[in-house]
Symmetry: C2
Subunit: 426 residues, 2 copies
């Protein structure tokens, strides 16, 4: 087919997505009616299948890794892609854990009787079919697949092209688990082409896809936001702030900030920027620098005057999610200026206030409209596991449908069930 | 400026939307912190201002009506646009009613303590800034403005160009109400140009707009779905079904169907299509035809064999939302075929089953994934008022964020408030 035109390829990708979509929709109807036990059995069988396929997964992954090394990719990229037997065991164990979580489907969210005798219930139901687009980590496909199955949703996975061999073996194991529990294998499908037109088609497939969740860098998330006609749950930047109020316990604050910044610098809940009251900046900053050790600290003039280990910050720093061992420090007059500053620069993920003054804490928690607002705690607690959700598919920074950690409950919608005894509307 | 190029106009519309967006964002922060009493006072003052401006509104509306008559528009279109003093009083009374509804902001949706002592609350908060795009009915702007203010959201209204004079006077009255209560007038703004580029700019303004709600015909809703980068709450078709099972009380069923079809034919919860069990079709159809009088009934062969007043249905009928005094009838073998038929043809708005068999009712309510599923009641009950929400801004047919009637609670999101006493994450 030497003369195959690009339009033909596009339409092939569209036809492929439509076929996956039809199968997913049909499978989702069976899955929505499945019992909790059946879904759990599918997850536990999938975990067994993953463990049994461990060698095969590692071998496929070695081919994937060889491919990206040959393409000259960097160490961190390769590390995210790499699976050894211990990591495969981790993926399988995560599936077992998801099987043990409560079933989010069928919860009665509200129940009321109307004066005319109609009994109305709002009941949690699966969303239907979820599209999951992710980049290099192949374990994301297994986690997402398991969370979708447990919440009664069929899922279409589109992993990065660099991990396609690993993803194929993992998806086959998940599908084997479904089949063993008597559920349709098509509850979990992977896009069978690395053609980017398939992503575009997935984002436009309003008839078949109820929600798309992208997990990856800013480029992927922007692409999804710009092209999607289907609803999306986006995870944008985590430019998180911690505000040190004049009445903070400064020694404790230095420890919280060190944890919030350095425990893991690569997660979206890491603090990227401090806002410090003028009244305590000269006392707090040296305390912090003594505690935070190897971290590069960039500050405004007042912060630098407090400690000469601080290097100058530029305008760009205030809007940067470093995801690295770098922290910026801004000095403010007090709560009003701190709140205005955070409102201007926060990306709406997580922001914290450290103070012993309960009134100031309340003002901050009320005024800052971020998914998570914290008082006297490390922003690194902004995580589905730490919130008791058991597992999360991502952290939503939008305000619609889900906000903050997206766990099983957030992968459901609801419907109204109305029981009457012959009522007609006057 | 004879040589003004289209690109300049586009950029003017974008600059206008950006200006409205900035003002709305700032106003939304003040409104989010307003007390329930202050918001209610704004609504009641707005109602008084509307009543005081009644003559002015009717006069502006007469100009709007003269414009569309001159453009040769039809009677129904003109009727939707028209405001007389009684209708203005209705709009004002709706504002008073919304003031009397419970405040949806600040509700504690969940509260739990983690083993490490972190106290986590999920608290209802406003969405922020809502864009409301609607067609000819000028009262929609007042209703939407009031619902947004009560739920703590700033709103940017974009009404139809044919109603712009009426809309301007109404919006001024609403803004006067806000000012009287000491709230920013910019909580309610109207787009100041009929340039369609402003709609496109609104749909792309992810920095300023948290949600767009279109209210109008299929053309408007499709345009919004295709162009929006901001989240949307869409109201697509209401192709609602009522299934008459063999064990239905047939006389009651004829009365329910007559109500579901004819009480008001123009609302989205009206039944458009019947699905009737073969075992009872010859008995039920004549009963129905005797009851439903002037309604045109289109059926398949079996339905026509049961009563010669029925005219033939075509394939198109099964997917048509008539919004008129027309009903289609499909004959099926029993619940399995009925469920498959409704799954295929329903638009996911509201579908009902009529039966005395509780098991069949449960099967139907579980299998049909529509926003509202009903047993032994008229589909015309699918309405925010009938559900006890007090007022609705529309009925969402998507599954994300809100589903079914969109009232005050559905115009909120939530945030997590976390209280610690110095916790760091291990």
């Amino acid at each position: 087919m030497l003369d195959q035109a690009p339009e033909t390829e596009v339409s092939d990708a569209e036809a492929h997505i439509e076929e996956l979509g039809r199968r997913a929709r049909a499978a989702s109807r069976v899955l929505a009616a499945a019992s909790t036990e059946q879904k759990n059995e599918a997850l536990k069988s999938a975990a067994r299948a993953l463990r049994a396929a461990s060698e095969k997964i590692v071998a496929a992954n070695e081919e994937d890794v060889a491919g990206v090394l040959a393409a000259g990719k960097s160490g961190a990229f390769v590390d995210r892609l790499k699976l050894d037997e211990a990591r495969v065991e981790g993926v399988a164990a995560a599936l077992d854990q998801i099987a043990d979580l409560p079933d989010p489907v069928g919860r009665v969210l509200a129940k009321f009787e109307r004066p005319n005798g109609l009994l109305i219930e709002r009941v949690a139901t699966p969303l239907g079919v979820i599209g999951m687009i992710y980049e290099s980590r192949p374990n994301v496909g297994a986690d997402a697949g398991a969370l979708c199955v447990k919440s009664g949703n069929a899922v279409i996975l589109r992993g990065g092209s660099e991990s396609r061999r690993s993803t194929e073996v993992i998806v086959n194991a998940l599908r084997a688990g479904l089949a063993e529990a008597g559920l349709p294998e098509d509850c979990i499908q992977a896009v069978g082409t690395t053609d980017r037109a398939a992503v575009a088609a997935l984002l436009r497939a309003t008839e078949f896809i109820d929600l798309v969740i992208p997990r990856g860098g800013r480029g992927l998330v922007s692409l999804v936001r710009d092209q999607a006609r289907v609803p999306t749950l986006l995870h944008l930047d985590g430019n998180c702030h911690t505000y040190i109020h004049a009445d903070a316990d400064l020694q404790e604050a230095a420890e919280i900030v060190t944890n919030a910044k350095l425990r893991r610098t690569g997660i979206c809940g890491a603090t990227e920027s401090l806002v410090v009251d003028r009244a305590v900046v000269s006392k707090f900053v040296p305390l912090l620098l003594d505690t935070i050790g190897q971290c590069e600290v960039r500050g405004d003039e007042e912060a630098r005057a407090a400690d000469d280990r601080i290097v100058p910050a530029t305008e760009e720093d205030w809007n940067t999610e470093y995801l690295d061992s770098i922290l910026s420090v801004k000095t403010v007059e007090g709560p009003d200026e701190a709140i205005a500053w955070v409102q201007k620069h926060s990306s709406g993920h997580t922001d914290a206030v450290l103070t012993e003054d309960a009134g100031v804490a309340e003002r901050f928690l009320n005024a800052i409209d971020s998914a998570v607002v914290m008082h006297n705690a490390s922003t690194q607690f902004s995580d589905g596991g730490e919130f008791g959700m058991g597992a999360e598919i991502g952290i939503a920074t939008g305000k619609v449908h889900a906000r903050g950690p997206v766990g099983l409950e957030q992968l459901t919608t609801f419907k109204y069930r109305v029981h009457g005894d012959g009522q007609t509307r006057p």
